[in-house]
Homo-oligomer: 414 residues x 2
């Protein structure tokens, strides 16, 4: 089924010609680069004889009509924006997979049982706008007016302005009604090393972890001279941060030891401002904290452990004050097993035995599942992590997964 492989290859190459950095890719949410990437997919859809259209928020859709207009449509898609210096596959692989599925269905010549819609969402990478799933929530009639005011990290300008710059209508995006629930399928690189380590090409996702996040946390201490300040009496923000990391790693160990799911990450640490110097005890330090779990109760417990660690550090070191800043959260979203079971049947007919696993990262599929859609995700083996220029994926693995979806669609499993 080489049209799948050649389509994947072509779409990845065309999209990743846009926003290419010296290392990696940068297509910010609602940037001209994201818009150009959407235009590539619109062009791909036209070449397949489909009519691409976009909604008020700029999500792109193209539908291959099925035999039975009453049968619940299957929407397949992902996003094309990237983090700064991201990789070639996060989001883009899922879009290439959708185009490849349509190409394979076209080449097969038959008519699928239900409508198959390729959907390319906007603004999935929340590193740009600090809210989740802007595009998919807009497609679901769930974007709020408050969302329009959030500002993009690099420009400081609100979402509404960036939408208008892209020729879109933010007001209409907010007023869009919820569509009738359909089925959503997203293919995405695994953002960890599990499949690569196990030598498995793809997996079925059981749910998307939720998160508790502190994006603007800070430790304040007391500036002092590195040579003149005795050990006792120091209120060193760097030392307090090291204690915090250690305390939260211990908390993480305790949660894992009880068999619960949790990930704790301090991804950004900033004691490198104009006031920081080699010869100074740091009086302030900024950091981000990201905690994820499949269980909201575990997240609340981790948050309580954080409060305990902070209180202990503040108590043990007079002069240290930890300000966690505002907390944001996303709810864990289990994906219903129905579609995954159908994909599993098709996979086994083709000789695969995909594992079921959690997704650590948030994905558009979570937004669709949260809106009551039947949703599924497939993870594609990947190495070197994600959100980095080194994202590694064998396109043959993605093609194998698309073959499974094609079989599931054409043989009645989906």
């Amino acid at each position: 089924m080489s049209v799948i492989a050649t389509t994947i290859d072509r779409v990845l190459e065309r999209v990743n010609a846009i926003g290419t950095l010296k290392a990696g890719f940068s297509r910010p949410s609602y940037s001209p680069e994201e818009g150009a990437a959407h235009e590539v997919i619109a062009d791909e859809a036209r070449h397949l004889g489909l009519t691409p259209c976009r909604d008020a928020a700029g999500n792109l859709a193209a539908t291959l009509r099925g035999a039975d207009p009453e049968r619940t449509p299957l929407v397949i898609g992902s996003h094309l924006d990237t983090v700064h210096a991201g990789g070639a596959y996060d989001g883009t692989a899922g879009v290439a997979a959708g185009v490849a599925l349509l190409a394979a269905l076209r080449e097969g010549g038959g008519i699928p049982p239900a409508d198959i819609m390729l959907m390319v969402t906007r603004a999935e990478e929340s590193v740009w706008f600090p809210v989740s799933y802007i595009g998919s929530r807009a497609a679901l009639g769930r974007l709020t007016r408050a969302d329009l005011d959030v500002v993009r990290a690099d420009t400081g300008r609100p979402l509404a302005d960036h939408m208008r710059d892209a020729g879109l209508d933010p007001e209409a995006a907010v007023q869009a009604p919820a569509p009738r629930p359909a089925r959503f399928l997203e293919m995405h690189i695994e953002q960890g090393p599990v499949l690569h380590s196990a030598d498995e090409p793809f997996a079925l996702v059981t749910g998307v972890r939720g998160g508790l996040r502190y994006r603007t946390a800070r430790i304040d201490g007391v500036w002092a001279h590195s040579g003149g300040a005795p050990r006792e009496g120091r209120a060193d923000a760097v030392v307090a941060f090291a204690e915090l990391v250690r305390g939260m790693n211990a908390a993480w160990d305790a949660v894992l030891a009880q068999g619960h799911d949790l990930a704790v990450t301090f991804g950004r640490v900033d004691a490198a401002g104009p006031l920081h110097a080699m010869a100074k005890v740091a009086g302030t330090l900024g950091f981000c904290l990201d905690m994820r779990s499949d269980d909201p109760a575990v997240l609340e417990r981790a948050d309580a452990m954080l409060a305990e660690v902070v209180a202990r550090i503040e108590c043990e070191t007079p002069g240290i004050k930890v300000d966690l800043g505002s907390r944001s959260r996303s709810t864990p979203v289990p994906l219903p097993a129905g579609m995954a079971d159908g994909l599993d049947r098709a996979a086994r007919r083709l000789g695969h035995a995909p594992r079921r696993m959690l997704s650590g990262g948030g994905h558009d599929a979570a937004a669709f599942a949260a809106a009551g859609w039947d949703s599924a995700m497939m993870f594609i083996r990947n190495w070197n992590g994600s959100h980095c220029p080194e994202e590694g994926m064998d396109q043959a693995d993605l093609a194998r997964a698309v073959e499974v979806v094609h079989a599931a669609v054409t043989e009645g499993d989906l």
Copy 2:
């Protein structure tokens, strides 16, 4: 002796009108602001009937002739450059003290036994050029041609260029011969809280700690997705850094427990580049490490402990690599007791009982002592640390210390 107090007040106010930030002061080494501050002191010297002159490196000197030209001159001074957003007193207080001493001697009308030279050095704050005591080493005929090539942290341009911009002659500064050794006295705020805590106005310094410094150290790990990377298998640069801080704090405790002198500071931590994000396990982190002691053997031992901690972390976490970068060092410099004993006698006659203490920070006096001069330092009580806008000093404390020096000079103790 109000001329001391009024002189201190006036000099501090005039110099600190230059390079004032919203919070603190910024007079970089060999900047126009440092030059303007020197011009203020030249003007002060002229008002005292002295003839200011400057050497090839821009150090300013003004001499009050003594009765006996054969008697070893006493040089009193400090520097006027500041760190970025520094305070009103680091360096400047010592210069104000020198002007105040000359003013008091002038007002007294007598002729001091030996020449008294006010010296204002250049470029003492090594945060700008990463070498120590540029000005005082030039005054001592100890500046090297290699020093001329070091670049200023903010401009990236070499010392020689900045000297030429200031109308100076770098080549002549390097070729200057060593002067005949004299006596050097520096008054400086204490850069720690010891005198403030003990409620003592000033102290006599017994020596200047040396240091081992890593200015461009780095930990490399493996970038990963915060939700997708399982705990085992992570090579998180932030977590490794926290372990390093903890390990070096334990080493510090061990050294202190054996009664040795040591200070360990991680003053700058940078995991806040464009690649760092809340949702990413950090793949790299930069930091500075500053270790100080009065004993070179203790510094070497701390360095060996650092190597052990680094090796342990690298061994425990595959994927973590610590690159300490280049090491710089300064030798601990004991100050001979002779001048301090004289100052102590004068202080006791005036009702003071100054403690003797180490200096944690490097000072010009160390350069003079290292060149074989008889040198002394007085520390003035200070709070809120140093190298920060909040440096706190009671000008009356500085005036008391100058009164002691005046008494020591006029009554034969110095």
